[in-house]
């Protein structure tokens, strides 16, 4: 069935936006939304129309615990992995705020040294790029779309969008690593545009040593360790060692 005939698309888009499209038909339409910008636009127009009906819903203040839980889930996962034992007190002292200050200091130093390497008598030693893992992901049409790179022994992956990726509202673009032997594991969530730093679960060397490809799928929520991609990859490409 061709869902993209304008009349049929509009009928599905409005039932989806209203919520009366249910069950497998709703899931099928969500899959279509990941692939067809025309469907995204049709739904967007109906959401905008229906949005006018939400203005009179009485507001309800969430409990503060909702925000705290959200902050904890999003921003303090590294603290949960803090070592137990004699050094545990140190993690208590190093609050997120303190850590932010330390990182800002490190960043400022790095910028100063980059601008004025002579300050400490340090000149650039080499023009060779650092040892890194690099992936270039292309879309179905072969257009380079995501550049992912991380230093060999680093725990941060920089993801740069070379062209915007269409991520339907309520979904996320999930990056996966595909090892040569073994099944895909989640790396992190990539934005639809711009650049982002993705915190890695381990060093690149440990995670990507056996990884030959990277890929992105659209998921309803960020994948957790052990999750598998729910559908087709919208982007994929080789993952190579830069040394």
């Amino acid at each position: 069935m061709n869902y993209l005939l304008p009349e049929r698309l509009d009928r599905l888009a409005r039932e989806y936006a209203l919520g009366t499209l249910a069950g497998p038909a709703r899931r099928r339409f969500e899959r279509l939304l990941r692939q067809a910008p025309a469907a995204v636009r049709a739904v967007g127009a109906w959401q905008e129309r229906l949005g006018g009906l939400a203005g009179t819903v009485p507001p309800m203040q969430p409990r503060e615990s909702v925000w705290r839980a959200l902050e904890q889930r999003l921003f303090t996962s590294s603290r949960r992995a803090a070592p137990e034992g004699p050094l545990q007190w140190l993690w208590g002292v190093l609050s997120v705020r303190a850590l932010g200050g330390v990182l800002a200091g490190v960043f400022l130093c790095a910028v100063l040294l980059r601008l004025q390497p002579g300050l400490i008598g340090m000149e650039p030693q080499s023009e060779v790029l650092p040892q890194s893992y690099v992936g270039l992901l292309i879309d179905a049409a072969g257009t380079p779309t995501v550049l992912a790179s991380s230093k060999r022994h680093g725990r941060l992956m920089t993801v740069k969008l070379l062209q915007p990726v269409n991520i339907p509202a309520g979904s996320v673009a999930q990056l996966w690593a595909l090892p040569r032997d073994g099944s895909a594991f989640p790396v992190g969530v990539v934005p639809g545009t711009g650049t982002a730093a993705v915190a890695l679960a381990d060093t690149s060397e440990k995670l990507f040593f056996n990884v030959s490809r990277l890929a992105v799928s659209i998921e309803a929520a960020p994948a957790k360790a052990g999750d598998k991609p729910s559908g087709d990859f919208v982007l994929s490409g080789h993952c190579v060692k830069l040394w």
């Binding site: 949005g51 969008l161 639809g192």
Partner: protein, 198 residues
């Protein structure tokens, strides 16, 4: 609060869009700004659908997880920032409602909660719809629809009901309800266009 209205003044809409673009770059302060400005309105929307503060707050939290990770997907040319946020929350609430129903079907402990929803099911959504139509200044235009047609639209939008549930709530045949909803949406579109809103 100004942001609680869907038809935000352009400046506020622009501010919210600007905050979302900063969230896409990983700006936590901007993320908190978006949350503080919109959470009460969004929780209200989720609560109407789920009729449980706990479940609505869970949905709000899940929705904002997606906002943090997916703010890059916000495209101002497709929908306004508040529409985008409402849509994430409504979709999550609708999914939670429908998955909850399957669980509830096998238990009887929650029947009282279900009864409470039923009692209030048809009245409140209709009152909300009427007030919205007044705020949008399309009451007269929408008045061409019969009361049951407006009621069907209200139950679908505010309660997240599907056709069969609306048919049951209003005691009407399924085919009739489908036609009511369809005509309700057609009329809404026509009235908004005539009022120069959409």
């Amino acid at each position: 609060m100004v942001l609680m209205s869907h038809r935000e003044p352009p400046l506020v809409k622009k501010d919210l869009a600007a905050l979302l673009s900063r969230v896409a770059l990983g700006d936590r302060a901007a993320f908190e700004g978006v949350y503080r400005a919109t959470c009460a309105h969004l929780l209200g929307v989720a609560f109407r659908i789920l009729n449980s503060r706990e479940r609505a707050e869970e949905v709000l939290q899940e929705a904002f997880m997606n906002v943090w990770h997916g703010a890059g997907g916000f495209d101002a040319s497709v929908a306004g920032p508040m529409t985008w946020l409402i849509n994430i929350v409504r979709n999550k609430a609708i999914d939670a409602l429908r998955s909850g129903r399957t669980e509830r079907a096998s238990t009887s402990a929650l029947d009282e909660e279900a009864m409470a929803v039923a009692a209030d099911e048809t009245q409140q959504p209709q009152a909300l719809l009427e007030r919205s139509l007044e705020a949008l200044r399309i009451t007269g235009c929408m008045g061409e629809l019969g009361a049951p047609q407006r009621q069907a639209l209200a139950l679908a939008y505010y309660r997240g009901m599907v056709h069969t549930e609306i048919a049951e709530a209003l005691g009407a045949p399924l085919g009739t309800v489908k036609a009511w909803v369809r005509r309700g949406l057609d009329r809404l579109k026509a009235c908004l266009e005539a009022a120069g809103i959409a």
